[in-house]
Amino acid sequence: MAYSNKVIEHYEKPRNVGTFGTQKEIKERTDIGVGLVGAPECGDVMQLQIKVNDDTGVIEDAKFKCFGCGSAIASSSLATEWLKGKTLDEGFDIKNTEIVEELSLPPVKIHCSVLAEDAIKSAIQDYKQKHS
């Protein structure tokens, strides 16, 4: 698989790797939204966490962890970069096609970008649910 330089760059130096606490701690924190998508048997799992300013609705920080191929890691790393500083609504509008374009993902890797979009939407929904 010949990857684009951007995928390799994200893979080798992934941005914003980590979590804001253990699974248990995160559940209790209302300023954090979590998206956990994918499945181990499918070969990719993404965990995306966003830290949101409750007053402004701006995503102040984002962290990810990923079990998956190089492009899955790159897609989730890119997602965290793009989310930081965006409002929840702006974040919700990120499309997988934009990730495909930015990383020049080959057709067989498009599902990685779809997974990243799912992770973003799922994290935002999780945050909103905690506040409803």
Partner: protein, 420 residues
């Protein structure tokens, strides 16, 4: 865990640890082949001049070298383009020869094979199924092996052919070939084995091992690509097959087409070298393989060596590293050429069907590496590879949400994952 760094200076990168995929040609093989490209280029079918005679002599010599490696008579060797062709010729050729009913009808005969065979066996079986034969594919044991009893349990009165690989290409596990062969001979059933990964590495005697048809390939044993052979037993029983490729009647009519003289000479030389060197080579590689497995499994938890612990080829190991995906692992190790059972490394986007057949969970199949060593693999290379693998797995585990969950005591299998 710290591993000695001393290995770094002694290895050349990129490093090749994928000898189960293919091997480099031994320079001695290339030397043997070279004259047959230029000076002795004759067609062995030319009976009336010295150019033809020289080529024919070379082919005859190679036929003997191949026969000697597997304990056959030289008349029992048919040269082909490799194991895929040998498997097709053996399976389709035998099924059509021993069919109980003519083409166009159903219930033409029963064929037994195993689900973790190579596609070059499974696909010919599927073709025959469409052409009126019944095919039973059995599951291997969870250690990857196939025994006589397992074949015996699915035999039918109309079974005409059993095909079981000698050693598996992904996990290196080998099967009870002499015992299965004996069973087939007792029942009057033709027995084929795809021995591509086995021949040249393990002692083979088709007569004592009760094999009727055997496929082998030059490029897995330091010979050239595009050359292979099919052994067809001539006595007790005399096995007959129907040719697939028709024309000039070469290879006693079993395989028409001008002989690939250079390839055949290379195959012969490769067989001769394997016969001389396999015993010492096997011991050397086994020590390296054991060292590699010991080093990585001691340094990393939640790892699993797939296949049978001992009934396994010496040069090959297949290891699953929990919570790490195989393709990204190979990306981290891009200076070391290996294979993975991960879906992302296959054209089909499915994880390895071989590991699946063993009951290895899909998550661990995605996490597997196949490392296969060869004639020029050194201890320094294995030390280097082990160190880099440990480093890469640790790096990717730092990235893995599954590893976090494992460390927090969360049972990953209990989570409701949304398959996608």
């Amino acid at each position: 865990m710290s591993v000695s760094n001393s290995a770094d200076q002694n290895v050349k990168l990129p490093m090749y640890l994928d000898h189960a995929a293919t091997t480099p040609c031994d320079p001695r093989v290339v030397d043997a082949m070279l004259p047959y490209f230029t000076e002795m280029f004759g067609n062995p079918g030319s009976r009336n001049h010295s150019f033809g005679w020289d080529s024919e002599a070379a082919v005859t010599n190679a036929r003997q070298q191949v026969a000697d490696l597997i304990g056959a008579d030289s008349k029992e060797i048919i040269f082909t383009s490799g194991s895929t062709e040998s498997n097709n010729l053996a399976i389709k050729g035998a099924a059509n020869m021993y069919a109980k009913k003519p083409a166009g009808q159903s219930s033409r005969g029963h064929i037994i094979s195993v689900i973790h065979e190579h596609k070059a066996v499974l696909d010919p079986c599927k073709r025959l199924e469409k052409e009126g034969f019944d095919v039973t594919l059995i599951d291997p044991k969870s250690d990857g092996t196939v025994t006589r009893e397992m074949i015996e349990a699915v035999l039918r009165d109309d079974t005409i052919l059993v095909t079981v690989m000698w050693a598996n290409n992904e996990i290196g596990t080998f099967n009870e070939i002499p015992e299965i062969g004996a069973l087939c001979h007792e029942k009057g059933i033709i027995f084929h084995t795809d021995a591509t990964q086995w021949v040249g590495k393990m002692p083979t005697n088709v007569k004592l091992d009760n094999v009727d048809l055997l496929s082998l390939s030059a490029h897995k044993m330091y010979g050239p690509k595009g050359a292979g052979a099919l052994y067809v037993r001539r006595r007790r029983p005399r096995v007959r097959i129907m040719a697939l490729q028709e024309g000039g009647g070469q290879e006693r009519g079993f395989r028409s087409g001008t002989s690939n003289v250079t390839g055949i000479v290379g195959l012969g030389k490769a067989c001769e070298l394997c016969a001389q060197e396999m015993d010492t080579e096997r011991e050397r590689l086994l020590a390296l393989r054991n060292k590699l497995e010991k080093t990585v499994t001691e340094a990393l938890d939640v790892t699993q060596v797939n296949g049978h612990p001992t009934k396994r080829l010496a040069h090959l190991t297949n290891i699953s590293f929990g919570f790490v995906e195989g393709e990204s692992l190979m990306m981290a190790l891009k200076e070391i050429a290996m294979s993975s059972g991960s879906a992302c490394t296959s054209a089909s986007l499915e994880p390895s069907y071989v590991l699946k057949a063993l009951g290895v969970g899909d998550d661990l199949a995605h996490s597997s590496l196949r490392i296969s060593m060869g004639r020029w693999t050194t201890e320094a290379e294995i030390d280097y590879a082990a160190e880099k693998i440990i480093e890469a797995v640790n790096k990717l585990r730092d990235l893995s949400p599954l590893f976090d969950m494992h460390n927090e005591g969360i049972d990953i299998s209990k989570i409701e994952w949304a398959a996608h």
